[in-house]
C-alpha cells in the first residue's frame, strides 16, 4: 500500500491533488458528478472585496494543447461568499478548503482576507498577486518584489490561517518575487498562474479575446511551470503548491519531483470534469510504477 498523504502548511491532505482556482467554481458542478471529498482540497473561485462581473466576452480562446482565458475575476464578492456560498459548500465538501483572494489595493487584499479568516471552513488563504486579466490590480502586485512583500505582510497581519502567495510567471525573475514573499512571512507559495498570451481572428483581423490578452493554461505550459517550481524550490524553504498544465497522475509526480509539496490541476477540469477524481485514482498505480512508497518523500526529488 502506497501512501499519498502530504502536509501543506501544517494541514494534512489525503493526497496532493487540488483543483485550481477559476477552473472549479465553488465545487458544486463537480460535486454533482462525483464525491469531491476524494480530492486533497480545492481552491475556490478568486474572491474580491466587491462583486465583479469580469471582462466582456469572448473570454475564452483555444490554442495548441491549451487555452486562453480572460474571465477577469468574475465573483459575487466576499460578503456573498461568506453568507451564501460557504454554507452551501459545507453540504458537499467537508475538508478545509482553499480560499483564493484577489484585490486592487493592498488594503483591499487585507480586508478581504480578514473577512475570510472568520470562516472555519477555510484552511488556507491563497493570495493571487498574479491575475493577468485585470487592470490596475492582480498581476501588478506580483511583478514587483516590494509590492508582493507588502501584500504578504498586510495579509499575514490579519489572519492566523496559512497564507500562500500565488505568483505570476510573467516576470523576469520569479525567484526574486518568491523570496520577497518568504521574507515577508508567507507560509507557502503557489505557482504558476497563467502565462499572458493572445490569439488573433484571421477573418476579423482582430484579437479573439475581447480583453485582447488572456492567460494561457493547459499542457502547453507544463514545462514552464516545472522550470519555475524547480528554481523557486532551490531558493526558498516554505512549501510550494505547483501548478501549470498538470493533467495526469504522472504530471503530479513530476511536479512534486520539481519541488511541489502539493499540486493544483486547472484547465484539465474544464475538458474532463472527472479529471480530479481520475488523477486521485491513478496516483497509487503511478507511485508503484516508479517505486514511490510515500508520496511526500519525492518532493524536490529531482534536485
Amino acid at each position: 500500500m502506497v501512501n499519498t498523504k502530504v502536509t501543506l502548511c501544517g494541514i494534512p491532505l489525503d493526497n496532493p491533488v487540488i483543483p485550481a482556482s477559476g477552473t472549479f467554481g465553488y465545487g458544486a458542478e463537480f460535486a454533482a458528478l462525483y464525491d469531491i471529498n476524494c480530492l486533497g482540497t480545492f481552491s475556490f473561485k478568486g474572491t474580491t472585496r466587491a462583486p465583479r462581473f469580469g471582462n466582456p466576452t469572448p473570454r475564452i480562446a483555444e490554442c495548441t494543447d491549451g487555452m486562453l482565458n480572460s474571465v477577469g475575476l468574475q465573483n459575487p464578492g466576499v460578503e456573498a461568499v461568506l453568507a451564501d456560498i460557504l454554507p452551501q459548500m459545507a453540504t458537499y465538501f467537508r475538508k478545509p478548503v482553499m480560499a483564493n483572494v484577489s484585490g486592487f489595493s493592498v488594503g483591499e487584499y487585507a480586508e478581504t482576507c480578514a473577512m475570510l479568516d472568520a470562516s472555519p471552513q477555510i484552511g488556507w488563504l491563497e493570495v493571487n498577486i498574479s491575475c493577468p486579466n485585470v487592470h490596475g490590480g492582480g498581476m501588478s502586485f506580483g511583478t514587483d518584489p516590494a509590492m508582493a512583500a507588502e501584500v504578504t505582510r498586510r495579509v499575514k497581519a490579519v489572519t492566523t490561517k496559512p497564507v500562500l502567495m500565488k505568483l505570476s510567471p510573467n516576470v523576469t525573475n520569479i525567484v526574486e518575487i518568491a523570496k520577497a514573499c518568504e521574507d515577508a512571512g508567507a507560509d507557502g507559495l503557489s505557482l504558476i498562474n497563467t502565462i499572458q498570451g493572445m490569439r488573433i481572428d484571421l477573418r476579423r483581423r482582430k484579437p479573439v479575446l475581447a480583453n485582447t490578452f488572456g492567460g494561457l493554461s493547459g499542457p502547453a505550459i507544463l514545462p514552464v511551470a516545472l522550470r519555475m517550481v524547480y528554481q523557486v524550490y532551490e531558493a526558498v524553504k516554505i512549501p510550494i503548491v505547483g501548478m501549470g498544465g498538470v493533467s495526469t497522475a504522472e504530471d503530479v509526480v513530476e511536479m512534486m519531483l520539481a519541488g511541489a509539496a502539493a499540486v493544483q490541476i486547472g484547465a484539465v477540469n474544464l475538458v474532463n470534469p472527472f479529471a480530479g477524481r481520475d488523477i486521485v485514482n491513478d496516483l497509487p498505480a503511478v507511485m508503484e510504477k516508479y517505486g514511490i512508497q510515500n508520496l511526500s518523500d519525492c518532493i524536490g526529488g529531482a534536485h
Binding site: 466576452t57 473570454r59 475564452i60 472527472f274
Partner: protein, 244 residues
C-alpha cells in the same frame, strides 16, 4: 450532465458546409429541446459545443456548420467513430409556456434546436409556425423536415433565392397571430427578433465556452436578474430578462 461515449451512426451533408450527424448511445441526460452537447475531438484541447437537433432513446441528431478546424475535423470522421461527449448541457426551452400557437424563429445553424422543439410542440397538439432564415438557396436545410412534422414553415433568404427575400423579421407579417416565440440564431438576428415580435418568448444564445458546464465563467452575460452563464443558466434566456 453525463459524460458518455457516443458512436457516429451516419453523417449527411444537408446544405453548403452544413452536416447532420446521428449519434448512438446513452442519451438519457438530454431532457429538453434547446440543450447542447460538448464533444471532445482528438488533438483539440477544448470540447465543441453543438445544439441537439433531435432526440430518440439511444439516439441524438446534431447539425453543425463547418466554420473552423474542429468542425472540419468532425465532418471528416467516419461512421462508427466513438466520441467522448458531455450530454444534457444547458437549460433548454421551457415549452410549457408556448400557448396554443407558438412561433419558432431560427437563423442558420440556430435552426437545429428548434426542430426538436417543433416536434414536441406538434405532439402536444399545438398549432406551430416556423420561420427559418438563411443567406441563400444553397444554405437552406430542414425546411422540408419541419413541414413533414406538420409545422407551417416559412423560409426567408437574404438574397430572395428561396422564400421571402430578407431576414426572418421580414416574414413576420405573413405569420398571423402567435402566442409565444422560441428563437435561436446569431445575436444580430435575436436582437432584431426581440424588437419585432409582440409576445413573450425564449431566446437561445451562443457564446465561446471553456467547459460548457458552469465551472469556468467563460460565457457569462448580464441579465436583468443578474449574471448568467450561457452554458448552464442558458443558453435559453427569457425575453424579459435580456440585456442587449
Amino acid at each position: 450532465m453525463k459524460e458518455v461515449t457516443l458512436q457516429i451512426v451516419s453523417q449527411t451533408r444537408v446544405a453548403r458546409d452544413v452536416y447532420r450527424m446521428i449519434l448512438a448511445g446513452d442519451t438519457t441526460a438530454v431532457t429538453a429541446a434547446g440543450q447542447f452537447i460538448n464533444i471532445k475531438l482528438d488533438g483539440l484541447y477544448l470540447r465543441r459545443p453543438i445544439s441537439v437537433c433531435d432526440w430518440e432513446p439511444e439516439e441524438l441528431t446534431i447539425i453543425y456548420k463547418v466554420v473552423g478546424k474542429g468542425t472540419a475535423q468532425m465532418a471528416a470522421l467516419p461512421d462508427g467513430t466513438e466520441l467522448s461527449v458531455l450530454t444534457g448541457l444547458g437549460n433548454g426551452y421551457d415549452l410549457g409556456k408556448s400557448g396554443s400557437r407558438p412561433l419558432l424563429i431560427g437563423g442558420g445553424v440556430g435552426v437545429p434546436p428548434l426542430y426538436l422543439a417543433a416536434k414536441l410542440l406538434q405532439n402536444e397538439g399545438k398549432t406551430v409556425t416556423a420561420v427559418l432564415g438563411f443567406n441563400t438557396a444553397e444554405d437552406v436545410f430542414y425546411a422540408d423536415e419541419f413541414r413533414a412534422l406538420g409545422v407551417r414553415t416559412l423560409v426567408t433568404t437574404a438574397d430572395g433565392s428561396v422564400g421571402t427575400r430578407g431576414f426572418v423579421t421580414d416574414a413576420l407579417a405573413d405569420v398571423g397571430d402567435y402566442s409565444y416565440v422560441f428563437t435561436c440564431g446569431p445575436e444580430p438576428m435575436l436582437k432584431a427578433v426581440y424588437g419585432a415580435v409582440n409576445t413573450d418568448g425564449q431566446f437561445s444564445f451562443e457564446e465561446r465556452m471553456g467547459c460548457g458546464f458552469g465551472a469556468c465563467m467563460g460565457c457569462t452575460c448580464k441579465t436583468k436578474y443578474g449574471n448568467k452563464r450561457i452554458c448552464t443558466d442558458g443558453p435559453v434566456l427569457y425575453k424579459e430578462e435580456i440585456v442587449w
